[in-house]
């Protein structure tokens, strides 16, 4: 594994909210093409880690480096969220955050806007360059939607989609930004086992097809065990274990954290 170059390195990152250390000295390295799971009980700080990595929440301390388009690692802590996203980081949200009153297609087009070459003036004057670009974007978006079986619903308002499809649309939207690293926050939450299985197959598929590195938060341990190559376990904002699924399953600290939660 070590021959694959790293795409993300987080070193001792921490964040404090009003005296509470929500994430404390968290370390993580993702190598190209890996699929890593981040698990932990409720309130362990998993989503906060995502927010720190994507720049939505500023760090209190620590360093984050990500691979730029030129292939070198650049510091991203302190950068704005949109700048980090443009480095090739796509994400989904635990509580679905689609653009509810935009259509399915428009949701994807918004995610592609930062790739736009034409100016606002082109848009207002409807120049030929503008029309060509709009058509190219739309074609690419439809292509992506087809992967998720949503192309037939491209004109639906996002809020009118059933729950499962909303989750899929979030992933499609994240992919539309053209990421090399995808962060999925509980993509299977609220789905039944069959839907979950299907989604996991889909994730594996897009990972191959778009050559992605994926970091996945999941609550359901059995599921993560199935597809992740490596797992990090978070509790009270600290990494309590990390390793292969087998190692994690045997780790007493992890069992305690999870059983401890369940007996409550």
């Amino acid at each position: 594994m070590s021959e694959r170059p790293p795409v993300l390195e987080a070193r001792r990152i921490s964040v404090v909210f009003g005296g509470l250390r929500a994430v404390s000295d968290f370390d993580l390295t993702l190598s190209e093409g890996e699929l890593v799971g981040l698990i932990g009980p409720n309130g362990a700080g998993k989503t906060t880690v995502f927010n720190l990595l994507t720049g939505v929440t500023p760090l209190t301390s620590g360093e984050i480096r990500m691979r730029s388009k030129h292939g070198d690692l650049v510091r991203t802590d302190g950068k704005k969220a949109h700048a980090i996203a443009r480095l090739g980081v796509g994400r989904t949200f635990q509580n679905i955050r689609l653009f509810r009153n935009l259509t399915v297609l428009e949701n994807l087009l918004v995610a592609m806007d930062h790739l736009r070459k034409t100016s606002v003036l082109d848009a207002v004057l409807r120049t030929r360059r503008f029309s060509l670009e709009e058509e190219a974007f739309a074609a690419r978006a439809v292509e992506l939607l087809a992967v998720f079986g949503l192309d037939g619903k491209k004109s639906f308002l996002a809020r009118n989609l059933p729950y499962g499809e909303q989750r899929k649309l979030e992933i499609a939207r994240a992919l539309a930004t053209g990421p090399s690293l995808l962060l999925l926050d509980e993509p299977a939450a609220g789905m039944n086992p069959q839907e979950t299985q299907e989604l996991m197959r889909l994730i594996s598929f897009v990972r191959e097809r778009f050559s992605l590195t994926i970091l996945l938060i999941e609550h359901d341990m059995s599921l993560v065990m199935g597809i992740c190559e490596r797992i990090a376990v978070l509790d009270y904002g600290q990494t309590i274990a990390s390793g292969t699924p087998e190692e994690i399953a045997r780790n007493p600290a992890v069992i305690k954290a999870y059983l401890g939660e369940e007996t409550l």
């Binding site: 994507t54 939505v56 704005k80 969220a81 949109h82 996203a85 443009r86 796509g90 994400r91 949200f93 955050r97 689609l98 653009f99 509810r100 009153n101 935009l102 428009e106 087009l109 918004v110 995610a111 592609m112 806007d113 930062h114 736009r116 034409t118 606002v120 848009a123 207002v124 004057l125 409807r126 503008f130 029309s131 670009e133 709009e134 974007f137 004109s155 939207r173 994240a174 539309a176 930004t177």
Partner: protein
């Protein structure tokens, strides 16, 4: 491609038809000069309300100081015309540009505020602009106002003058509608709407939310300023006290009445608002009471305004009437 070309021609034809119809009816005396003036007034209200709708309806940022931008445009245009002898068209555009510049300068620090805090800062800037205009006596005439501002034309025939006023405002109205609707139905425009829908999701998709808010705010100020420039030529008189907080509220009312995020809604809202004020004059002393009650009832029972965030598709209606088909989406 072909369909778009036809749509464009249809819209152009529809606009020309509406203009010729109203101007023609006025010319033969069916529409009185007063009502033509009222339609022109409504046109300016609509231009400013559309600009407000861009920032409040489409971008989701409540602005309560648009009278301020309007007054900057109005005074700039009037001063260029009166003191520097610049022709009206460049003066109106300069008024818009000046307002846009102020929008940019004000938006820069304030647009990071959210919701009500942004609303109160825009209100504050609107008031500050008014106080400053009041005190720049040498330039603005202070509280006595700026009077005898040249109008659009002076042909000696009052009806012809009224039609020329209407023509000017109609053209600017059409341009405003075209620019704003082209903007919101484009890639950057959709991103502007995504800011309203979910700022965090939008920024996580690589969009510089602050830049898009600035874009929207500046364009909004630009058109409010243009509306102001036209206002100065239509009314021939400016007074800072006219552009107070309650005046700003009028535009918010029009935008909400028509439907936040709807361009055709704003057009309807502006017409209804302007004419309702005239119709209610028969109530004399009770006019404003009834106006307030109507406002409350509308908000209670018609929460999304006339159009919601939908649009009345003029091309679709025309296609249906002309039997061109084109239901295909």
């Amino acid at each position: 491609m072909k369909k778009k070309g036809v749509d464009f021609l249809l819209l152009l034809a529809a606009g020309a038809a509406v203009f010729l119809l109203i101007a023609g009816l006025a010319w033969i005396g069916v529409i009185g000069e007063f009502y033509l003036q009222l339609i022109s007034t409504a046109g300016i209200y609509i231009i400013v309300s559309l600009s407000l709708n861009l920032i409040t309806g489409f971008t989701g940022q409540l602005a309560l100081g648009h009278a301020g931008f309007m007054s900057i445009g109005a005074y700039t245009a009037a001063i260029f015309v009166m003191r520097l002898g610049v022709p009206l068209l460049p003066s109106v555009l300069l008024g818009g540009a000046m307002s846009a510049l102020f929008g940019y300068l004000i938006g820069f620090p304030t647009l990071r505020l959210r919701g009500d805090y942004l609303a109160i800062t825009t209100l504050g800037f609107g008031e500050i602009i008014r106080v400053v205009l009041n005190n720049l006596e040498g330039i603005t005439g202070g509280s006595a106002g700026l009077k005898s501002i040249p109008g659009f034309s002076d042909t000696g025939d009052v009806m012809l003058d009224a039609i020329i006023k209407f023509a000017w405002i109609f053209v600017f109205f059409a341009v405003t509608v075209a620019v704003i609707s082209n903007l919101v139905r484009s890639s950057p425009g959709r991103t502007i709407v995504s800011v309203r829908e979910d700022e965090i999701a939008s920024t996580s998709m690589g969009n510089d939310v602050a830049r898009y808010k600035m874009l929207s705010f500046t364009v909004s100020a630009l058109f409010a300023g243009i509306g102001g420039g036209l206002y100065s030529a239509l009314f021939n008189y400016l007074n800072p006290s006219n552009f107070n907080f309650l005046y700003s509220v009028n535009f918010v009312v029009i935008a909400v009445l028509g439907g936040l995020g709807s361009i055709t809604g704003t057009v309807l809202g502006g017409l209804i608002f302007t004419f309702a004020q005239e119709w209610l004059r028969v109530l004399k002393d009770f006019r404003l009471v009834v106006f307030g009650l109507l406002l409350i009832l509308l908000m209670l029972f018609w929460q999304k305004g006339i159009m919601g965030s939908k649009e009345l598709s003029i091309t679709r209606i025309l296609r249906r009437i002309l039997g061109l088909g084109g239901k295909k989406e």
